[in-house]
Amino acid sequence: MRLIAAAAVLVLGWCPGCGGEAAPLSQGSISFGVQPLLVLPSTAGTKQISVWTSPQPPVKGVNAVQLLVTDATTTAPLDGLTVQAVPWMPSHAHGTSAKTWVVPQQGGVYQVDNVYLYMDGTWQLRTTLGGDTGDDTVVPEFDVP
């Protein structure tokens, strides 16, 4: 069936579903392990961010990311931040069609859902950490095999 559809697309330029209503992305069950995938400082150096992914390591498709944001000096968890995260493939300079959404949790934890990494390669999750003292950023980097 896929071959027939491909032949129709190739010869006729017609494809089933082209231009149709966008369906929501499906995401599997989300669970995070004990060990983070990455631990890295924020750009300003004032925060430490531990990063988990679900699945871990991330795969081609829809993933979830959990961030634990702590003070770099006191290690106290930082709640109340305004977190925004955008997937970006730096070597090709493009993002993805899907928007992420961030669910703040307690204890400095922020869950980023709908992280759609649609092709193999190195992706960044360009993340803004907005707070009372201004914006800070962190850029976790993932290799999608």
Binding site: R2, A5, A6, V9, L10, V11, G13, C15, P16, G17, C18, G19, G20, A22, A23, P24, L25, S26, G28, T43, V59, K60, G61, V62, V86, W88, M89, P90, S91, H92, A93, H94, G95, T96, S97, A98, Y116, Y118, M119, D120, G121, T122, Q124, R126, T128, T137, V138, V139, D143, P145
Partner: protein
């Protein structure tokens, strides 16, 4: 000067038939076989359609590691192109692509398509084949691609399958050298391309120049059936991004090899076909999916 059968073969290689007044104008060769959107020196204008199917079978990671995949994108593309000769040595070509993508992720699949980035190419034929004795033909190349297609982050379909653009302009300049040796031909094209910068999350991405080399060669049979092979290498240096925490990143580097053939239908029509594969050169290539590709072209010209 080429014997008639040999020249007929060369024209067959181009798939452009056998106009009698073209006897002394052995021109074009490999790129006419590999890149169909070009005119012979005695063609005034033409148009064509190229249909391509491309299956991703792996990827080269940033560190050069190659890994295969069974769930890579299937991309089909129809390129409508038109060519016009403005003078004895200058020709222009316009190419409008329409790209469809079939994508699979766990639990979901999607077809989508949209117009890609439109390209205008120019060719200035400095020396035609045979014009300066044994010297090869020399052509200067220039082109501009406009971001008329949607970049992946501008796509509207859920899986982004309607993305068919890069999101920035790209200009290129280059040269082509082409030699003819009885039934054989060999040619080399070299380009340098430069993309304009584009906005990125928190900053702006800029690109290093991209170098492309195309080496092609082949043989023309007395029957005018032509067959050849080609190889390309592409290397883009380290780009920059002004976003906080985003350092310089190396652009794609990859090589492709393929086979091509051409069959003249009549003096005005030709059929061409190519098959190629990006080579899984772990340790050399980087930051690029690897694909198999097959394409066919139907070209009509007015000599």
């Amino acid at each position: 000067m080429f014997p008639r059968a040999r020249l007929a073969g060369l024209l067959g290689l181009l798939g452009l038939g056998w106009p009698a007044h073209a006897l002394a104008q052995a021109c074009c060769g490999a790129s006419g076989l590999v890149l169909p959107a070009r005119l012979r020196v005695y063609d005034d204008y033409g148009f064509g359609l190229q249909a391509t199917a491309r299956q991703t079978y792996g990827a080269l990671a940033a560190d050069g590691t190659y890994s295969g995949t069974l769930t890579g994108d299937l991309v089909t593309e129809q390129d409508l192109f038109a060519m016009a000769r403005l003078s004895a040595r200058v020709q222009l070509a316009l190419l409008v692509p329409y790209v469809e993508t079939y994508r699979r992720i766990p639990g979901q699949s999607e077809w989508g398509g949209f117009f890609g980035d439109v390209t205008v190419n120019g060719r200035f034929e400095v020396v035609h084949a045979g014009e300066q004795g044994a010297w090869p033909a020399l052509t200067l190349l220039a082109g501009l691609t406009a971001p008329t297609g949607r970049a992946p982050d501008q796509a509207r379909n859920a899986l982004g399958t309607d993305a068919a653009g890069t999101g920035s302009f790209q200009g290129n300049v280059g040269f082509e050298v082409e030699g003819l040796f009885r039934h054989w031909f060999v040619m080399f094209d070299g380009w340098v391309s430069q993309r304009t910068s584009r906005a990125s999350p928190g900053g702006r991405s800029s690109f290093a120049p991209r170098l492309t080399g195309l080496l092609a060669g082949g043989y023309v049979f007395d029957s005018r059936l032509a067959a050849g092979g080609f190889a390309t290498a592409v290397d883009e240096g380290r780009g920059q991004d002004t976003a906080p925490g985003a350092g310089p990143v190396a652009g794609p580097r990859y090589a492709t090899a393929g086979l091509a053939s051409a069959i003249p239908v009549d003096p005005s029509w030709r059929l061409q076909a190519t098959g190629s594969a990006d080579l899984p050169l772990g340790g050399w290539g980087r930051n690029q999916p690897t694909t198999f590709a097959f394409s066919t072209s139907l070209v009509r010209v007015w000599p």
